[in-house]
Amino acid sequence: MTALALALVIPWMAGIVLVALDGRRRLVGWLAIAALGLHLGALVALAIDVVPGRAVRFVTGGWPADVGIVMRADTLGIAFAMISAVMLLAAAVQAVLEGVGERTFPGLVLLLATGLSGLFLTGDVFNFYVFFEIAMTAAYVLTTYGGGRRELGAALVFAAVNLLGSSVFLLAIAGVYRVTGTLAMETISLRMASVEPNAAILIAVGFFIAFGVKLGLFPFHFWLPTVYTGARPAAAAILSGALANIGAYGLLRFGAELLPNESALGATTLILIGGASIVYGGVLAVSRRDVAETLAYSSIGQVGYVLLALGVGGPVGLAAAVLYALVNSLNKTMLFLAVGVRGGLIGAVFAVGALSVAGMPPAVGFLGKLALVHTAIVARSPALVVLLVAGSALSFVYMFQIYQHEFWRGPRPGHRSPWPLQVLPAILALLVLTAGLWPEPLLAVSRDAAAVLSRGGQR
């Protein structure tokens, strides 16, 4: 419980103080990084308690469970919280090494960390909404990082579209409160089974639209390429590596735990939308030449896999969805951080990234693809296997197309970046390779996280 409280209070307080200071000064940047490190430390301490299967749970203010707000940390929440914290830390270090250009940047990254870990560790749907808005508001401002015309245009599109998504989410929460009379996730998952089907389906559709917009799934993706290519690499890494986790986590938590019957009912729709995302993202990514743009369309395709695994469901499907979401977050942060950097190590980073996105053996992306193919085989669906292989082939083409364009065609424009900037993406690349060669911890975590979800469904 102390670790859980610390994980929220440290970045919150540090964020409030640092937003008021001039973030362009080195010291403030390093203070923010130190606070992010402490935040990660608190999460690790919490994970040591949680991962053996004991969920940490307490009610704020010492109220009885149905009155106060429930905070809880289980394997699913802590896994997403930790990967987001690591990605934010990497993006912040990169921004500070490059030299922060905006006063508020370090403070906002901390506030984003607060919002993210809060929503991953809460057990109350309205509290989820509040932390979600904290994270989103910080992200709207972070998108303007750089302050040029493109960044501003991107921020405007991002904020307007996502506020619409937030309102739809709030409407769905109103619906949940109306039909179940509670906001605690555990009680909702108990009572949802006896709710009138029409109302439950409407609520499920509301949540799906809200998280689909956040994640940039196929029919809701229209804002994503503008934003990811408009924002600076550090900001794009934060958006795609940390913020997009909200969508994946939300779909898993709300879809698989709170509304399992409705998810099963809509399984075909989920798989179709996931498949459409994979094909659309892959084909458009192949047609692009700009690295950031290719990665943006690739993000649309990659989240399609998560949705597909969620649609198949069951312990295998959910574990694959969790694993793929974590792996994708790592891949995308590494690649976006490498976009603006020049030098010898970056070529290696891109090669590792290309292997990982395409799902080739030494990289961790292979595990994700393997889990997905396993899911498709368990579901006894040859069509899904074909789709997965076709999607992987597309990602292979666009990733190596980037590699060829950027690295095999003589020197890239621009000067060689200083060593620390090259080393940072290289560390993430090492992480990708290590997790690929020693996959047991990641596999165990995703299996446990899926077990949390299916327990919720069976009750």
């Binding site: 309205f126 909404y129 509040v130 808005e133 508001t137 709207y140 401002v141 303007t144 302050g147 040029g148 015309r149 493109r150 501003l152 245009g153 921020a155 405007l156 904020a159 307007a160 506020l163 619409l164 937030s166 309102s167 739809v168 709030l170 409407l171 929460i173 109103a174 619906g175 409160y177 109306r178 906001l183 503008t226 030449r289 700009d290 364009h405 065609r409």
Partner: protein, 128 residues
């Protein structure tokens, strides 16, 4: 009573969605805030009960649900803050682009894309 709330929320959402599709960015902001008002109205309506104020010690009479009130207050505060932020972004966009219509912002994006496309095609020819 439910019907009145549902109708009002629906009209607010519809009006907001209509404004969201306008070219004028200030109207877009008004549209976003109307839609969030519609969500807040739905939130209040979701726990609509008549009764005493829920102040301790409770009497036997039925009490009105305090949770939706606090939810609506929280959502209102968040909505206000986010609307203010959105207006600031629109203000900065209007300084940067010297316009407050979405069309012009999109047109300058498209011009950039076209330039990039040409540059890419040029590199292609050079490469071969």
């Amino acid at each position: 009573m439910n019907f009145v709330f549902a109708l009002t929320a629906a009209v607010l959402f519809g009006a907001g969605a209509y404004l969201l599709l306008k070219h004028d960015l200030v109207r877009v902001v008004v549209g976003v805030s109307l839609i969030s008002q519609s969500a807040i109205l739905a939130l209040i309506a979701s726990g609509l009960t008549r009764g005493q104020a829920p102040i301790y010690p409770l009497r036997d009479a039925p009490i009105s649900d305090p949770i939706v009130q606090s939810l609506a207050l929280t959502a209102l505060v968040i909505g206000l803050a986010v609307t203010a932020l959105l207006l600031v972004v629109v203000d900065r966009v209007s300084h940067a682009f010297h316009t407050i219509t979405q069309d012009d912002v999109a047109a300058s994006e498209a011009a950039r894309d076209a330039a990039l496309e040409r540059a890419g095609a040029g590199a292609e020819v050079l490469g071969e």
